[in-house]
Symmetry: C2
Subunit: 526 residues, 2 copies
């Protein structure tokens, strides 16, 4: 293998790789349209004169958005919701709220205090989730910045660094430093030697130096970026001593750590609704005049020649509703169990989707001990079963606070599913004790929300394999029989995000609007 690379070769080798460009061009060739830019207000044709009616199945965010929009456009709207509450997975728990876990019904025993709440579902809004943000603006839902990536928080692994927590900023500075030192050495030892120009070589060395905060000569020997062990204010700063590169490589944190806050969806600054994420749900409910019937479980869905018939169970008796259109955000994995006459391929598509699973635990802490550690919001990561601890970034310096005590995804939820709510809190406390001294002693009460066991939900984060996506996604984005629209984050590329729910709702509404406009122009009603 040629050990000497020309400048042209080097620059061609680095970053020229057609990958992204190819994907980009393919994307453009496919005619994909921008859906991350500013989203204009939906301008649906008002159907006031013709009194079209719509039934919405499920009062999750997508259902609420559809109801809100269609009501504005003069449709006659009814909303049917199986559970005792609206909002779906956009669930904020406060004092006295019920956690409707099957077999483990819990009551939230937090203090009755405006800062004591727990976002059991969506908790973060990034700046490019335009639809969520536009609704917050339109409905005057107050937003605040949410601390997310936190250099002062911890990373902890029972099997590395003696099981002791390491500050995130320390870990990140060391990782960058050693990475850059390696690169520096490669360049310095003429790994990319002549005919690389002296100027290019010098710039690359400077790049590595700056990136990793290297010493002159290219060694990483700690950095003030890692934080101080001592001094800095009245006495000279003494940076934290670097961990060894070997220990860093042995540990597995770098795998996930460097993903997280680098991703747009988790990239700072993130926002949250002041007072709890269900502020969005409440705002919709405040605006929607149409009836929202809770505790009403759908029994059958049937396309007819002119619309959709839905039968649902209410107070022990079946009720029937006939509508021109149906918008359905029932979790797709329930659909095979609900008798319907939707087209065969459509039903196959729904049946092909696999529910994901998330679990969150919220713990009311009698003291904001994390603030004494210099942590004001953000997340600690651990390889222990709890996966993470999030600290509230609202209510700073208050007496108490609610932390996220576990955030567990997919298969790892199973070990928690088996436990009683009480045992889950105990386990979360035990894990926390390895990160914060006295952690479990601060727990006053807790709730656990394993979405896979939550009534009327039984999952979170719909999983689309590439194959299923290719076969069924476009089909399920279209209305079955021109009348039945499947909606929700489940019918998007952003499953388990509010933006996915609103994007799906928007798409369905635009599909409907197109049909209604075409129809009215045919009938001369335009």
């Amino acid at each position: 293998m040629n050990q000497n690379l020309t400048r042209r070769q080097l620059l061609a080798m680095v970053g020229a790789a057609g990958g992204a460009t190819a994907i980009y061009q393919t994307g453009m060739a496919m005619g994909v349209m921008a859906d991350t830019g500013a989203v204009a207000r939906l301008d649906l044709k008002n159907v006031g004169a013709s009194k079209k009616n719509v039934v919405v199945l499920g009062a999750g965010l997508s259902g609420l958005a559809v109801a809100y929009e269609l009501e504005r456009a003069g449709y006659d709207v009814s909303i049917i919701e199986a559970s005792h509450r609206v909002g779906g997975r956009s669930l904020t728990l406060r004092s006295g709220d019920i956690v409707d876990e099957m077999g483990n019904r819990q009551v939230c025993e937090f203090d009755d205090h405006p800062e004591m709440f727990f976002n059991a579902g969506p908790a973060r809004i990034p700046g490019h989730h335009r639809r969520v943000l536009n609704y917050c603006k339109e409905l005057k839902v107050p937003l605040i910045i949410k601390g997310n990536f936190a250099r002062n928080a911890w990373m902890q692994d029972n099997d590395h660094f003696d099981g002791k927590p390491v500050r995130v900023g320390h870990y990140v500075a060391d990782a960058r430093g050693f990475l850059s030192e390696l690169l520096y050495k490669a360049i310095d030892l003429n790994r990319f030697d002549q005919p690389l120009s002296a100027e290019d070589r010098e710039r690359l060395l400077q790049f590595a130096t700056t990136f990793g905060d290297l010493r002159p000569g290219g060694s990483y020997a700690g950095s003030s970026r890692a934080g101080y062990d001592e001094g800095g204010f009245l006495r000279p700063a003494v940076s934290r001593e670097p961990k060894s590169f070997e220990a860093l490589l042995n540990s597995n944190f770098w795998r996930r750590m460097f993903d997280g806050s680098e991703r747009p969806d988790w990239g700072d600054p993130l926002m949250e609704v002041d007072g709890g994420m269900d502020g969005i749900v409440k705002a919709f409910v405040r605006e929607i005049a149409s009836p929202i019937r809770t505790n009403a479980q759908v029994q059958s869905i049937n396309l007819t020649s002119s619309g959709v018939d839905v039968v649902y169970n209410y107070k022990g008796a079946p009720q029937k509703i006939s509508a021109d259109y149906c918008f359905n955000c029932i979790p797709t994995h329930f659909m095979p169990g609900i008798p319907n006459n939707l087209p065969k391929d459509y039903r196959e598509g729904l049946a092909a989707l696999i529910p994901g699973n998330f679990m969150k635990i919220g713990l009311q802490m009698k003291k904001r001990f994390w603030e004494e550690e210099g942590i004001f919001g953000g997340a600690t990561n651990t390889t222990q079963p709890i996966n993470a601890i999030w600290y509230p970034s609202h209510g700073i310096h208050g007496d108490k606070g609610v932390v996220l005590g576990a955030y567990v995804l997919f298969d790892r939820v199973k070990e928690w599913d088996r436990l009683s709510p009480k045992e889950r809190i105990r386990l979360a406390g035990e894990c926390g004790d390895r990160i914060h001294e006295g952690y479990s002693g601060y727990i006053e009460s807790g709730v656990s929300i394993p979405w896979g066991r939550m009534n009327h939900m039984m999952g979170c984060g719909t999983q689309w394999t590439d194959d299923v996506r290719e076969r069924y996604f476009k089909l399920l984005q279209q209305p079955a029989g021109g009348r039945h629209f499947m909606i929700g984050d489940q019918i998007s590329y952003h499953s388990s995000w509010q933006e996915g729910a609103f994007a799906s709702a928007e798409n369905a509404l635009l599909e409907l609007d197109q049909r209604v406009r075409a129809e009215s122009s045919q009938t001369g009603m335009g």
Copy 2:
């Protein structure tokens, strides 16, 4: 040079370099004490019986903190302030406020609205600035998270990328990607070959791959971390096309960009005072019962056998105050002009300090146009004279907002000093236009605060050379004649930070307390 490195050599080479350890050990050997840990409440001996009196020169943060603490401890306190207002450089400007720039007196013409303010001095509080945070907690100053590092904000350079702004997240993802690709190639081409174990080599490749989001085989060809150009919600995501590595190297952003948010002082999450940083000043003023005399300029300071005599000018006439102790936060560069009999070396030390210079511009914008670009707080960086634009992260979705339209440091302030306030706003607008379309058209009013020209201030960010630090720092931390304490951020390792001011005040108070306790134990008054 040996091209083949053993594993031992590699691991020894990377990170073993004695630098940090040496510094660390030196630091420990020097007996430095922790001053970044949790700061306990000061427990000053109460002197109520002996009625010691103190004069505080300057009502900046350090002066206010000293007055607050000594009043609590039973001292009789007087505060003398040269300017028309208290707070020193902790200045938040609102409708009607005066900007006391010499020769360019300005009046702030922002709307009279709770969100329309501008922090012309300190604006950010990191989680390890314990003294600031402890005072906020004790004085019930409400804190909120401040968006700081923002992947959705811009980097812009007239000379690179066709002068067009590039999203921060895009830039960062590309820089990480190319850096990692270079490293990957070095490892992959057996740059660190046998006897590196296959396992180590594999881990290093994985490390580089994860760090840079490389494709299989180690090439960087764009990353979803850069953000999407298209799709992501209803259609497949198309990541932004990577910039070329050459363009990236040619540009100079990486120098500063990678420093900023990696430093503890600027590391997320940062905080700010809800409603303006001068909330801290107001809280002290609310608590302090002692008289604070503004428009009172110090004329002389003289140590006497039993205390300190201060003469100051008030309403055209000299006033004299005699006190047991004097705490002085007058900018050190004014001291050579104030007649005094402080010890020669002490005066030499004060004269050796050089005032720094910062300038900030605040612009009230009639529309929060940045939010339409997905920016909700954080900072844009540019090589243009304005250096940066900061977007407010409070008041999200409001009608208007105040942005920081320029943040200029040290020598670069000179070109702004020469301009009239009106010309500065125009220049800031012109620079902004190259980043945000229509920027200057959104400006409703602006204020510019060049600290080097501000009355009674004439500087910001005291500069200590290593030599001056070594010769004078410890001396100036001690009271002259046991009576005159020089305080302020200027007498700290954190000049221009609130924490520096409070650290200095704390140090002086502890010095005083030690003396008072010793004295009272001698006189049997303990």
